[in-house]
Symmetry: C2
Subunit: 428 residues, 2 copies
């Protein structure tokens, strides 16, 4: 392993030990000064960004990706608003989650604290760098960033401005580091001694690769195979509208629907209504088995389609015999991300809520609501399809853990083990 990445990770770990002792007001001050410094460097940042964009265009990068790369002064301004919002948010570090008296002179407190060192691998979007760095500062974590290489020059100036302003405001050395090559990413994945959590963003294949190739815990989602199930007790107007929105509102999102399941009893009526709605945006329907009978424009689907995240104007359609089959299908083929039932039957909704093993289980609304902002969580760290630590859209609390603080007055276990003293638990 290259010693450089290991040293960066070690330095981040050292920095995290100091960061965890900083006050919320120091971190807010640092964030405000970072925002100022970025504003002042707007012209140089835009210039670096133009170089990246020119290089990307020369290298034949597709236009939508080049557009995402853009980070002019207008884009910077928008991004800095995010920092202002973070500064205004209450400090989530050091919050007492539980307080319990174990004995008259023995007090237990469960208190939030930063996780330590976060490694973030993100796509070629310079605003992501600013956003992630700010979230880590707010939550008192050290961060190691690896951005898309197409944004290299922009990322370098952004990270350098943030580092300088942050240190001037009192943040410790090593609170932010930037890696630039793919080799460095591979090396970072081996630093499980120093990095506590990896947050990968970007393509599914890449996230899967990281989950499979590191001992460091990963928070993210590798797939988004979301379902809408139209129950026999569905309001079909709502159903058509929700399927349309779940599929078409933003097809590239992980929370877009990929499979439509319709109860057999209403298939003949429901499918044409939904098809009519989906046609408005030219959605290609792939029908499995009998579903084809009711879908004039459909092409045939295979079992493989149930496992496919199209990220496109394509949806699979299948008839199910009842709710149980719908739930089984979702648990078997889905990615445990977000799934919605359309039904006016409260019991059917309750069964769907209990039976579907996904981060988000919805009734009578679009799968597209799965999003930190829409959930009212504030700044979003990402969406997790893992079940441990954080699940679904994750706000800043996903960058926090807790520790137990126990304060005594000379208390020893022997006294309790031998019956001279006894615990009495009182919740405060």
């Amino acid at each position: 392993m290259s010693e450089i990445v290991k040293e960066i990770a070690q330095g981040a770990k050292q920095s995290s030990f100091i960061l965890q002792t900083t006050s919320g007001s120091l971190r807010n001050k640092a964030l405000a000064e970072i925002a100022n410094a970025l504003r002042n460097a707007g012209k140089e940042i835009a210039a670096a960004n133009r170089e990246d964009m020119d290089d990307a265009a020369k290298d034949g990068m597709p236009e939508p990706l080049v557009a995402r790369l853009l980070f002019d002064e207008h884009k910077l301004d928008e991004t800095l608003k995010g920092i202002d919002e973070l500064v205004a948010m209450p400090d989530a570090v050091g919050k007492v989650l539980e307080e319990r008296e174990l004995d008259s002179d023995l007090l237990l407190r469960k208190v939030t604290c930063p996780i330590g060192v976060i490694g973030v691998i993100f796509e070629a979007r310079p605003d992501a760098l600013v956003q992630i760095a700010s979230l880590c500062i707010k939550s008192a974590n050290a961060v190691i960033l690896k951005g898309g290489s197409e944004a290299k020059k922009t990322n370098e100036i952004l990270a350098s401005v943030i580092e300088k302003a942050g240190k001037a405001a009192g943040l410790p050395d090593g609170f932010i580091s930037l890696l630039t090559t793919r080799t460095e990413t591979t090396e970072m994945l081996r630093c499980h001694e120093y990095i506590d959590l990896i947050v990968p963003r970007g393509s599914n294949e890449f996230v899967r690769y990281i989950m499979d190739n590191s001992q460091i815990p990963v928070m993210g989602h590798s797939d988004g195979i979301c379902h809408v199930y139209v129950d026999k007790a569905a309001d079909l107007a709502k159903a058509a509208h929700i399927v349309y929105d779940s599929k078409t509102q933003y097809v590239a999102a992980c929370n877009a629907a990929e499979t439509l399941l319709v109860h057999a009893d209403i298939a003949a009526e429901a499918f044409p209504k939904i098809e009519e709605e989906l046609k408005k945006k030219g959605v290609l329907i792939k029908a499995f088995g009998d579903a084809e009978k009711y879908l004039a424009s459909a092409v045939p689907a295979t079992e493989e389609d149930f496992k496919t995240e199209y990220l496109d104007m394509v949806i699979t359609a299948k008839i199910v015999d009842g709710e149980k089959e719908a739930i089984d299908h979702i648990n078997k083929y889905g990615s445990h991300h977000t799934d919605s039932i359309i039904s006016e039957d409260k019991e059917a909704i309750a069964e769907f809520f209990a039976g579907v093993d996904s981060a988000g289980v919805y009734a009578n609304c679009s799968t597209r609501f799965a999003d930190g902002y829409r959930y009212g969580l504030g700044a979003e760290v990402g969406i997790s399809t893992g079940k441990l630590h954080a699940r679904g859209p994750v706000g800043i609390e996903g960058l926090l853990t807790y520790k137990y603080l126990l304060t005594g007055n000379g208390n020893v276990v022997e006294d309790y083990a031998e019956g001279r003293r006894s615990f009495h638990f009182v919740e405060h």
Copy 2:
């Protein structure tokens, strides 16, 4: 991979989908009937256990381990009391953690639910099987158990009685499975498609091996290198008593202290007092550097001792220049388990609390308090030195995750994205 373990894991997954829909009262009823069935099978269980113990003695198992293997009717009775307590505990599944109105007709609820399939690998202690199986039933998780091979016959009859009684009470097929060979353990570690969490108990090397050899998240602790730091503002009588208890009250425990750090200013006075106390149980003190000057009975220590979990009547002693050095030492050499400061100085305690990156950070009490029962958490699943999901002693909530339930009335994201509707977040 052997198809048998894969099929067991698949079966457990299927079972978990049904378990998550069961009511708390059904699970309590099953627990009560399992306790009855075990009570009725007491004689056969004890007979199977005698065979295990005879075999173990013949194979030359050390006596303390043979003693842990004992599972007679008296031990069974004690274990069944644990089930009664679990039945009496409120149901932790389906608890609403947050409830937020996103719009007048769009309600978000964050609700606890089981994790799914838990794989538990435990030492040759039959009572652990009963305890773990009960915790999983209470929390609606399916469980795959792998017990120490020395308890094979006892485990087999226990698992078989639990399975039969549980199924008779309405639990689904596959809610419990027992693996018996080491090969099967290796195969289980590869079943990341079906198993959601591994809880390993037993030797540190084994836990480390599992953490290093599975993609399945692991909840546990591989090391317990705990420290007591005696600050210059310490009450030395308390200090001596707490060091004595932390080291000697139960040396085989992960929360026993392995290193004693003493502030230079009080070393001359503190060390002899502590040494006198430790002598009562014949503790061997290994002194690092100058500490030897103040410890009449000590032998020299090396840096390697700072990384050693003795699990024995041995402790390392070191002088530190101040609190900062103590904190740095603990963060560098410790296992982020439990560390205690002895001090009458509130500021020093606050600094120690903020600076030490451990699951338990204590002041003026013994490290041996790190335990689910002593924390008042009810039945203990284990102690985690990981930072994600669960940290420190973990109660039944460590076997739970959450999902977001969103209930609407035809709501689509397009309306919000295009400004026809807007979110208003109201916490309930």
